[in-house]
C-alpha cells in the first residue's frame, strides 16, 4: 500500500509540474495569464508530494518490504538499519527519485519566498524549472519506476554492494544531488532572465544564493568522495582523473566560475551575457555527468545502472534542455545590452581572468574525458589519465593562483598598482622564499615545488583583503572569500606535500616482524579472524610508534561480505597534525606471511581540510548574503508601512 501511495504522489506531482510549466510560460508573456496564479501553489504542492513519495520509498527500505522490486534487488534483511536507509538512494531508481525530490523542494522554496523579481520573470523561471522537472518525472515514471512490485516475493534481498556499505559514501549522493539541483535552479533563473530580457544585478543577487548552496554542496561532495576513495580503495590514492570523478569536477568548475561572474553582475552590472552563459553551462555539466555515468558510455562506468535505453532517455533530455537553452541563448544574446565598463587593473578585470582560466580548465577536463569516446568512434582506443590532466591543467591553474592572490585586493572599476604594491610584494617575497627553501632542502618535481611555494604565497595573500578593516565589522561575504581562498592554499599544500614526500612500503610480514617507514616503526603482533554483522574479516594487529614515541595500535582488515559476495580492504589510518600513516592488509602470501601495505603521507589531510575550508568560506558568504537580504526586506516592509501610515495621516 505504501508503495502505491508513493507512486500516486509522484504521478500527481508530475501533473502539477505540467500545470506549472503551462502557467509559468503563459504567465511570462506580455500581459500575463489567468492560470499563472496557480503556478506558485503548484510548485509548493509538488514539493510536498515528492517528499511523500520519497518518504514512502525510504519506509519500504526501512522495513525491507521485499515485494518492492527495488528493495529486493538492493537490500537485505541482515543489513544494518543505516545502510538499509541509504540503500534507498544507492541505486539508479531511488537516486533519480531523490534528485527530483530535491528539485521539487527547491522549486517550492523559490515559489514560496522569492518576491524580489518582476512577476513575469518569476513566471518564466518557474516555467523553466517545471520544464526540466517534467522531463525527469517522465524519465522516472516511464523507465525507472522505483515502486515496481515483485511477484512472487523473494525470501530475502540481494543486498548492497559491500563497497557502498560505508557511512561516508551513504551521504555522498544526497550531497552531490543538492549541488546539481542547485545548478538547475540557477539554470532556470538564467532561462527566465533570457526569456523576459531581464539580465539585471537584481537577477544576479537572487540567483547567487542558489549557486552558493549548490557550490558548497558540490565542494563537500567532491571532498567526501575523494576521502572515501582514499580510505576505501586501499591504495592511498585520492584523485584518479577517472571519468566519473571528472563528471563531478566539471559542474564544480562551472559553478565556481558562475559564482564569481554573478558577483560582478550583482555588484557592478557587468558580464551580463557571460553570467547567463555560465548558468546554462553549469547545469549542462551536471546533466552531462549524469548521462556519462548512467548510460555506461564511458569505459570506467560499467556496471552502474548501465542501460542504453535509459541512456537514450537522458540523452534526449540533455539535447532538449541544453540544446534548447543554447539556441535560446544564441538568439537572445545580442538583445542583452552590454554591461558596465571596467579597466584591466580592477576587481572585474581579475575576475574575468579567473573566469577565463576556470573555463579553460573545464574545457580541458571535458576534452580529456570525452576524447577516448571520440576515438572509439573511429575504432581507436586511447586512455587519458593523470600524466595528461596534471600538467595541462596546471598551465592554467598556476597563473590563476597569481590572480587569486592579487584580485581581491583590487577595487571595482579601476585601480592602480601603487595602491596594492605592498601586499603583492610581501606575498611575492614569501613565495620566492618558500621556493628557494624547498628547492634547497629537498629534491622534488617541478609541479609539487611550484605548488608548495604558491601555497605559501596564496595563504598569506588570502587574508590581505582584511588589512585595514575593522575585523568585527567586515561583512561576512568578505570573510567567506578570504577563508575559501585560504582553503585553496591549504588544499594545494596538501596535494603538493603528499605528491612530493609520501613514502611507500610493501612487505610480506609474519607476526613479530618490524617495518620501518619514514619516521614510523610498525610491529605486526598478530593476524586473526573477526566477524561483523554481515561480513567476516582477517584483522592485522600492529603496534606503531612515531619517532620512537609511545606505541599505538592499529587494526587494518581485509573484509569478506556474503550478501552480495565481495571483498573490501578496511584500512587503518593514524592521523597526526603533520600527516597520516596508512596501513592496509592484503592477501596471505604462499608461506603464511601476510601482505602489508604502508604509506606515510605527510600533510595529506590538508587536502580535505582545505576542501572543507573552501566549503566553509562558501557557507559564511551564503550566511552573509541571506542575512543581508532578510534585513533589506525588513527595512523595505517597514518603509512601506510607514509610507502607508503617512498617507493615511495626510488623508485624515
Amino acid at each position: 500500500m505504501i508503495a502505491e501511495i508513493g507512486l500516486a504522489a509522484l504521478w500527481l506531482a508530475a501533473a502539477l509540474a505540467v500545470l506549472q510549466l503551462l502557467g509559468g510560460f503563459l504567465g511570462a508573456r506580455e500581459g500575463g495569464s489567468a492560470i499563472s496564479v496557480l503556478v506558485r501553489p503548484a510548485a509548493v504542492l509538488q514539493a510536498g508530494l515528492c517528499a511523500v513519495s520519497f518518504g514512502a520509498l525510504v519506509y519500504a527500505f526501512a522495513v525491507t518490504d521485499l515485494s518492492v522490486k527495488l528493495v529486493a534487488t538492493h537490500s537485505h534483511s541482515m543489513k544494518p538499519l543505516a545502510f538499509k536507509l541509504s540503500g534507498a538512494w544507492a541505486n539508479h531508481e531511488g537516486s533519480m527519485l531523490l534528485w527530483i525530490t530535491v528539485m521539487a523542494l527547491s522549486g517550492g522554496l523559490i515559489a514560496l519566498i522569492e518576491r524580489r523579481l518582476p512577476d513575469r520573470m518569476m513566471m518564466a523561471t518557474l516555467g523553466a524549472q517545471a520544464c526540466v522537472a517534467v522531463g525527469f518525472y517522465l524519465f522516472i515514471l516511464l523507465s525507472s519506476n522505483p515502486f515496481e512490485r515483485l511477484s512472487p516475493v523473494p525470501a530475502d534481498g540481494n543486498g548492497l554492494n559491500p563497497l557502498l556499505q560505508d557511512m561516508g559514501v551513504s551521504f555522498h549522493p544526497p550531497t552531490l544531488y543538492i549541488g546539481y539541483v542547485g545548478l538547475s535552479v540557477a539554470f532556470s533563473f538564467a532561462v527566465g532572465a533570457l526569456l523576459t530580457r531581464n539580465v539585471t544585478p537584481e537577477f544576479a543577487r537572487v540567483m547567487r544564493p542558489w549557486v552558493l548552496v549548490s557550490w558548497i554542496f558540490l565542494t563537500i561532495g567532491i571532498v567526501a568522495g575523494s576521502y572515501w576513495a582514499y580510505y576505501e580503495l586501499g591504495w592511498g590514492g585520492w584523485w584518479f582523473w577517472d571519468p566519473v570523478e571528472n563528471a563531478s569536477l566539471m559542474p564544480w568548475l562551472a559553478a565556481t566560475a558562475l559564482l564569481h561572474s554573478a558577483s560582478v553582475l550583482a555588484a557592478r552590472d557587468a558580464l551580463r551575457t557571460w553570467t547567463i552563459m555560465l548558468g546554462v553551462i553549469a547545469f549542462s555539466m551536471s546533466m552531462l555527468g549524469t548521462f556519462l555515468v548512467r548510460s555506461g558510455i564511458l569505459t570506467s562506468v560499467h556496471a552502474f545502472a548501465v542501460d542504453p535505453e535509459r541512456g537514450s532517455f537522458i540523452l534526449a533530455l540533455l539535447a532538449l534542455y541544453i540544446g534548447g537553452a543554447l539556441v535560446l541563448f544564441a538568439l537572445r544574446a545580442n538583445t542583452i545590452a552590454e554591461g558596465e565598463r571596467f579597466s584591466l587593473l580592477s576587481r572585474e578585470g581579475a575576475l574575468v581572468v579567473n573566469n577565463v582560466g576556470l573555463s579553460a580548465i573545464l574545457g580541458i577536463v571535458l576534452l580529456g574525458t570525452l576524447y577516448p569516446l571520440l576515438t572509439e568512434a573511429f575504432d581507436v582506443r586511447v586512455s587519458v589519465g593523470p600524466p595528461y590532466f596534471n600538467p595541462v591543467s596546471a598551465i592554467f591553474f598556476l597563473p590563476m593562483l597569481l590572480i587569486l592572490a592579487v584580485g581581491p585586493l583590487l577595487r571595482w572599476r579601476k585601480d592602480s598598482f601603487d595602491r596594492i604594491k605592498w601586499p603583492v610584494i610581501i606575498a611575492g617575497v614569501a613565495t620566492l622564499a618558500a621556493l628557494t627553501a624547498v628547492a634547497a632542502f629537498s629534491e622534488i618535481g617541478l609541479l609539487p615545488l611550484l605548488g608548495l611555494a604558491m601555497a605559501v604565497g596564496v595563504a598569506i595573500a588570502s587574508f590581505m583583503p582584511l588589512k585595514g578593516r575593522n575585523l568585527l565589522r567586515t561583512p561576512l561575504p568578505v570573510w567567506g572569500m578570504c577563508v575559501a581562498h585560504f582553503g585553496i592554499a591549504v588544499a594545494l599544500f596538501g596535494v603538493a606535500a603528499d605528491t612530493a614526500y609520501q613514502q611507500e612500503r610493501l612487505v610480506a610480514a609474519s607476526a613479530g616482524d618490524v617495518v620501518e617507514i619514514g619516521p614510523w616503526q610498525a610491529t605486526l603482533t598478530s593476524i586473526s579472524p573477526v566477524a561483523g554483522p554481515n561480513w567476516t574479516a582477517m584483522q592485522g594487529d600492529l603496534l606503531v610508534s612515531y619517532e620512537s614515541g609511545p606505541q599505538q595500535d592499529v587494526h587494518p582488515q581485509a573484509r569478506s561480505f556474503w550478501a552480495p559476495p565481495g571483498e573490501t580492504s578496511e584500512v587503518a589510518l593514524l592521523t597526526r597534525w603533520n600527516g597520516q600513516l596508512y596501513v592496509a592488509l592484503g592477501n596471505m602470501a604462499e608461506d603464511g606471511r601476510w601482505q602489508l601495505r604502508l604509506w606515510w603521507k605527510p600533510f595529506v589531510t590538508y587536502i580535505w581540510y582545505g576542501g572543507l575550508l573552501i566549503a566553509l568560506g562558501g557557507a559564511l558568504s551564503l550566511l552573509g548574503r541571506v542575512v543581508g537580504d532578510v534585513r533589506r526586506r525588513r527595512t523595505e516592509v517597514r518603509d512601506e508601512t510607514r509610507r502607508a501610515e503617512e498617507a493615511e495621516l495626510a488623508r485624515a
Partner: protein
C-alpha cells in the same frame, strides 16, 4: 556523477568475480618493492600511469586484480634489469596499443588533445586582450 564514486565501485566489483579467482600466489614483484629506491621510484611513477586491463578504470598501481599484480611484476623486473620507464611503456604499448598507457603520446590520433589546449590558451589570451585591452583604451581615451 550523482553517484560518481559508486560507479567506480561498481567497476571495481568487476575485478572481484566471486567464483573466478585463481589460487596462485602473486608474482614475486607484484607486492614487493625493488631494493634500489631510485628504481622503485621510477617503477612506481610508471605504474601509476599504466592502465589495469582487467579493471578498466584503475592504474595497475591501484588494483588488487591478479593481472595488475603480474603487470607490476613485469614493470619492476624490467626496470630492475636496467630498462628505462620509457622503454617499458613502449613495450606494453606494442602489446596492447595506446589504451594501456594513461599518458597519451602525440600521434595522428591524439594530436587534438595537445593542440586544443593551445587553441584554448590562444583563445583565452585573445578574449582577455580584446575585452580588457579595449576597455582600458576606451577608458583612457
Amino acid at each position: 556523477m550523482m553517484r560518481w564514486r559508486l560507479a567506480l565501485l561498481a567497476a571495481m566489483a568487476f575485478t572481484l568475480p566471486a567464483a573466478a579467482q585463481d589460487r596462485m600466489p602473486p608474482a614475486p614483484y607484484a607486492y614487493t618493492q625493488l631494493d634500489d629506491p631510485t628504481k622503485e621510484q621510477q617503477a612506481r611513477e610508471l605504474m601509476h600511469t599504466l592502465r589495469c586491463l582487467k579493471c578498466q578504470s584503475q592504474s595497475i598501481a591501484d588494483s588488487d586484480a591478479p593481472m595488475a599484480g603480474d603487470m607490476r611484476h613485469q614493470v619492476r623486473t624490467r626496470i630492475a634489469a636496467g630498462e628505462s620507464p620509457k622503454e617499458v611503456r613502449a613495450w606494453l604499448v606494442s602489446r596492447y596499443g595506446d589504451y594501456v598507457s594513461y599518458e597519451p603520446q602525440v600521434s595522428s590520433t591524439t594530436w587534438p588533445l595537445f593542440v586544443l589546449p593551445l587553441v584554448l590558451l590562444l583563445l583565452a589570451g585573445t578574449i582577455l586582450f580584446r575585452r580588457l585591452g579595449a576597455r582600458t583604451r576606451e577608458d583612457s581615451a
